[in-house]
């Protein structure tokens, strides 16, 4: 206990608090590695949140709920892919449209689900491991999505670093024209990367509504999707650093909530600002140190690809 804050509880809470953002950021990282900037993460997340919630409540199965959330995110990402890859629309504007559309659509679908409790997602049973002091609550006291998110980060890292398909994906993101000339299908690769990103954002949103809150309220993602975008920049487009960034952000959120609970005399609204202010600060520090270093962003990020031959 330090100043009324229990460190073990804090670390355990941090992992759960980070999971939605970690999932969304990992998905966005893959899309950006393929050279597409999808600013619609917030929209895909919130649609995932409502779709996951609705599926879980109507079927009574949280697992189906998570699948539904991922599917909804992927479908919305497909719409983005259709516009940016086939109709060659501006990626920044289309991403914004996706967010506005997702927020509206989720509010529309969510009307009947306000004030409903979702079926609970149980914590995994590790037997005696969960009772270990310190390590027990931190490592062995979570639901399966937390472990899945860690696995997905690991898988993404390995995919991008070691697999041939990962190499093709990075090639498409670095130089689309060259990848096209080599016979790789730029549009197909980008479509797949976007769908993966959307599915993960939707899954993160479903985790928010099914486990974190757990409830459906309008606009409940409250900028988590945008923070996921910031984390990808923070991570310099490296999966292992996405993990650090997401946990750092989750730590701030968890700490801020515990400070509120511990009854410090700081107005609640000023404490709630903290995650956003700190995200800005981190972006500034990072951009300042990277200014003269090698640019880490994929070279073709945000550019439309149109094969002229």
């Amino acid at each position: 206990m330090i100043g009324g804050i229990d460190i073990v509880t804090l670390v355990a809470a941090l992992m759960a608090a980070s999971t939605p953002v970690l999932l969304a950021a990992t998905g966005e990282l893959v899309a950006e590695k393929a050279g597409v900037l999808n600013l619609g993460v917030e929209g895909m997340m919130i649609l995932g949140a409502v779709a996951g919630f609705a599926t879980a409540v109507t079927t009574g199965s949280p697992v189906l709920g998570f699948l539904g959330g991922a599917l909804a995110g992927a479908v919305l990402a497909g719409l983005f892919a259709l516009l940016t890859q086939f109709l060659l629309s501006n990626q920044t504007a289309t991403g914004l449209a996706l967010t506005l559309f997702g927020l509206g659509l989720s509010a529309l679908f969510g009307k009947g689900f306000e004030g409903v409790r979702p079926p609970p997602t149980p914590k995994l049973d590790f037997g005696p491991l969960s009772d270990l002091p310190v390590l027990g609550p931190i490592l062995f006291h979570h639901d399966w999505i937390v472990y899945l998110s860690l696995l997905l980060v690991l898988a993404t890292w390995a995919f991008l670093k070691f697999s041939r398909a990962g190499l093709v994906l990075r090639a498409v993101g670095e130089n689309d024209d060259a990848a096209h000339a080599l016979g790789y299908r730029v549009i197909a690769v980008r479509f797949a990367a976007l769908a993966f990103g959307g599915a993960l954002a939707g899954l993160g949103g479903a985790y928010l509504s099914l486990v974190r809150v757990p409830q459906w309220t309008e606009g409940m993602t409250a900028g988590a999707g945008w923070i996921a975008l910031a984390i990808v920049v923070f991570a310099s487009w490296k999966p292992e650093r996405v993990l650090i960034g997401a946990y750092l952000f989750g730590g701030i959120t968890a700490l801020q909530l515990q400070l509120q609970a511990a009854g410090y005399a700081i107005p609640v609204h000023l404490l709630s600002m903290a995650p956003y202010v700190i995200t800005v600060l981190v972006l500034v520090i990072l951009s300042a140190t990277h200014r003269h270093g090698a640019p880490a962003a994929p070279a073709a990020l945000g550019r439309s690809f149109h094969a002229s031959s």
Partner: protein, 359 residues
């Protein structure tokens, strides 16, 4: 097989036709959405687009049109300048809040003194508040290379929390029986932004919106700065060779759009809304992005787009009352409009050709 061929220059005809096409496509897709919600699509479209203008109670709604369109046009004309230069301020909602807070603070500090100077002082404070909030992403971008998209958006959430803090704390009405929210500025003669011509919805914010449209038109079409902004957006390398300083453009565009959004917030809080509450902002800052694109980032286009978007707001309210259509349906409708617009834009820049394109 059909292939796409890039046009040497964007088609002027399609540039005018695509917004119209997008509106028609949105009506069709929106009608399908309303039908899926169990409402008569034709009736819904009529209630949204026809009744507020020419229906039985149109006189009342026509006034509302300017009230809603004013802030949208004011914010969108600022945003459009930045978007033309490839500078993406998407935090207008935050700048709107901060402008309203700054302007209302001036009024509440002066309460209950009456003076003709108070309202102009509030206007200046509102513009400054929005300008300052817009300058944060600008300065960070210029000095550290931080993405203005992410910073300006993060600042929306900061502004929202700050608004809640102010509404529950420093700006709370001391005679408000413990309810959150400030004093009502509509009951404070010197600070009130009244309807200038009864029944029209015309207030100083609408006047400012029209002035902004004219100013932006002159700036973009007739002024060297507007030319530089366009070059910087369309050909950044050429702009650099021509001696355009990107840092100055970033500061100018974000500062201008921030100040205009701040003004919109001030006029809203001193006029139609009247009161600082934790949820007084109605999402104008985000809808204005749609307005800017629908108006093709062009001053006169924005004027029309703002009126059309205001119509969907009012029509949406009416459809909610008369047909029980959820408010969120209108948000979806507006989002769809932006999608169709961006999709149809293909026709402006490319044309279709049958058969394989020859290299």
């Amino acid at each position: 097989m059909i292939t796409l061929v890039k046009r040497p220059t964007p088609s002027r005809g399609w540039a005018f036709a695509t917004p119209v096409l997008a509106v028609i496509a949105t009506m069709i897709a929106g009608g399908a959405l309303f039908a899926a919600l169990g409402k008569d699509p034709i009736a819904a479209i009529k209630v949204i687009f026809w009744d507020p203008l020419l229906g039985p109670n149109a006189a009342y709604f026509r006034g509302q049109l300017l009230v809603k369109a004013g802030p949208l046009i004011l914010i969108a004309s600022g945003l459009a300048v930045g978007f033309r230069a490839g500078i993406w301020n998407i935090g207008a909602e935050g700048q709107y809040i901060m402008g309203a807070l700054a302007g209302a603070s001036v009024a509440l500090a002066a309460y209950p003194a009456e003076s003709h100077l108070l309202f102009p002082a509030m206007v200046i404070a509102g513009a400054l508040g929005g300008w300052l909030w817009g300058m944060i992403p600008a300065v960070l971008k210029v000095f550290f290379g931080t993405s203005e998209i992410l910073v300006s958006l993060m600042l929306v959430y900061v502004a929202q929390n700050f608004l809640a803090y102010a509404a529950f704390g420093p700006l709370k009405n001391p005679e408000g029986f413990g309810f959150p929210g400030s004093r009502n500025l509509q009951q404070y003669a010197s600070a009130h932004n009244p309807e200038l011509i009864a029944g029209t919805g015309m207030h100083w914010g609408v006047v400012a919106a029209f002035l902004a449209v004219i100013a932006i038109y002159v700036l973009m079409q007739r002024h060297i700065l507007g030319f530089r902004i366009r070059v910087a957006g369309e050909a950044p390398r050429a702009a650099r060779f021509a001696g355009v300083l990107p840092a100055r453009l970033v500061m100018f565009c974000l500062g201008l759009s921030g100040a205009l959004a701040g003004l919109a917030g001030l006029f809203e809080v001193a006029g139609p809304n009247g009161q600082i509450t934790d949820s007084f902002n109605a999402g104008y800052g985000f809808t204005a992005i749609i307005v800017a694109f629908l108006g093709r980032l062009n001053a006169l286009g924005i004027l029309l787009a703002g009126l059309l978007m205001a119509l969907t707001y009012i029509g949406g309210d009416m459809a909610q009352l008369m047909l029980g259509l959820p408010t969120a349906a209108i948000q979806v409708f507006q989002g769809m409009l932006l999608f169709f617009l961006l999709g149809f834009d293909l026709l402006t820049h490319y044309r279709f050709r049958l058969g394989r394109a020859r290299a």
